[in-house]
Amino acid sequence: MKPTAFEYHRPSSLNEALEMLSSLDDAKLLAGGQSLGPMLNFRYVMPENVIDINRVPEIKGIHFESNGAVRIGAMTRQYEIEKDEQFNQQLPIFREALRWVGHYATRNRGTLGGSLTHLDPAAELPGLCALLDAELVIKSQNNERTVSIHDWAVSFMQANIEENELLSEIIIHPWTVSHGFSFLEMSRRHGDFAIAGVACLLSLDDKDCISKTAVSLIGVANGAVRLKNAESLLLGERFSMDLAESAAQVIDGLDAPADAHHSGDFRKRTAKTLFKRALKQAYDNAIEGRTR
């Protein structure tokens, strides 16, 4: 339960980090260490080089742009996002979902970028980024590119990122229209990997019909999934539990792999129940927001 030996590098600038990524063979980036640490300790991964980016200043912090976009440095700790009041004003769903991300102590080290690059199928943060159509800025020594979150997950726990690239920041455009939100997760113990989790944003028009909605699902498929088919069913409709019930059926169409913990069916059933509850909660939240 101890890692194999590795060479340790600690760049103090982004350029230095990118240079190391380009020149070092068989290197892994060490961000919060809450996912890589266990893998190193278990010897699942045995890289020759570990590049510790905890002291790279350019990729930390939350910036609020004048055009409304929120830019979050990849090394921003999860607790920093949780505590930021201005962030919470615009994106309250994060604070709610972050309660479920790991545990209190892991959120002090774990980062947004780390979670997004690791892409555990039950991870909450990729689900939230999918919900909000986030954009990811990827840098390498000689290149920079922006990837939509929807093109980010290439396959099971594999992000659209090369070995010489680094995720530097995440750009989110919060909804400007008044909306309700909800985040619900089911796990055996609080903080365990999710059996299933649903994130929902919902806006109502002046006739109380759903004018805009986004729903994403975690834990069920090979990664976070935007339930676009469900969203189409909901648009323009009046909320009702019957509507929620029929929209929830899209979850049955998903590929849900079984694993040592739960069958795919169980995850889907859980997901459908959470979907209905989340939708109701987001709806109630939206109504409440209007009458405030």
């Binding site: 892994k28 890589l36 893998m39 278990f42 010897r43 699942y44 991964v45 045995m46 690791h118 892409l119 555990d120 199928p121 290439v154 396959s155 099971f156 726990m157 594999q158 659209n160 090369e162 090979n222 590929d255 849900a256 792999p257 079984a258 694993d259 040592a260 795919g264």
Partner: protein
């Protein structure tokens, strides 16, 4: 677990059979695979490098072709191997059936019984992911095999003028690694990140390949 895959190759059955039952031709068609030893006519040893999410696995394996039908319609491969760093092992029993769709097209059905043990079997989501990866590997294998078989035919027809590879642009880069001029068991180079193939559009090509199946 049990996996079933079916493919249509644009090559005559005779040529496909010859390619499939020759480890020196077939083994390098599997992504990340390097043939290291021949054992008689039907046996072989190979290393298979595979990246499953964050984990780079290197399986040291051996296999044997068995029960090859004289009418080139059926054959089996039994293979087993373990991760060089002790993270698990696999055993695969593959049954493949070939049938002539036309003079230049062969249908290949592969049924694989795959057993994974060790931490590699438990990591992440287990069964479901393995199925997905195994399917991707099988498709890539078949595509490479088709390319190789076609090239072999072309070379036989015109030995001094190798025909340009049908793949173009970015698709060629990754597929090319498996098929470009490698008639013998030359080293395949560093492990191939199966998932990286997606960037080159191959995955989309494979998807369309599936939609053609019977």
């Amino acid at each position: 677990m049990n996996l079933v895959n079916e493919f249509l190759l644009n090559a005559p059955r005779d040529a496909v059979w010859k390619g499939l039952t020759n480890p020196e031709i077939a083994a390098p068609c599997m992504p990340g695979t390097q043939l290291t030893e021949r054992i008689g006519d039907f046996g072989f040893k190979a290393t298979v490098s595979l990246k499953v999410g964050p984990v780079k696995l290197q399986f040291l394996g051996e296999g044997e072709l068995m029960n090859l039908a004289s009418d080139q319609s059926y054959g089996e491969v039994v293979a087993k191997g373990s991760d060089a760093k002790g993270r698990g092992s696999f055993k695969a029993e593959m049954k493949f059936r070939l049938s002539e769709e036309s003079a230049t097209q062969t249908k290949v059905q592969v049924e694989t019984e795959l057993t994974l043990t060790g931490s590699v079997a438990q990591y992440g989501r287990g069964v479901g992911i393995v199925k997905e990866i195994a399917s991707q590997l099988t498709s890539e294998f078949t595509r490479n095999l088709e390319q190789k078989v076609i090239n072999n035919i072309a070379d036989a027809l015109s030995p001094t003028q190798p025909i340009g590879y049908a793949t173009t642009g970015s698709e060629g880069q990754a597929a090319g690694q498996a098929t470009h001029g490698r008639e013998q068991a030359e080293p395949q180079g560093p492990s191939i990140n199966v998932m990286q193939l997606v960037f080159t559009g191959i995955f989309r090509w494979i998807r369309s390949f599936f939609s053609r199946k019977a």
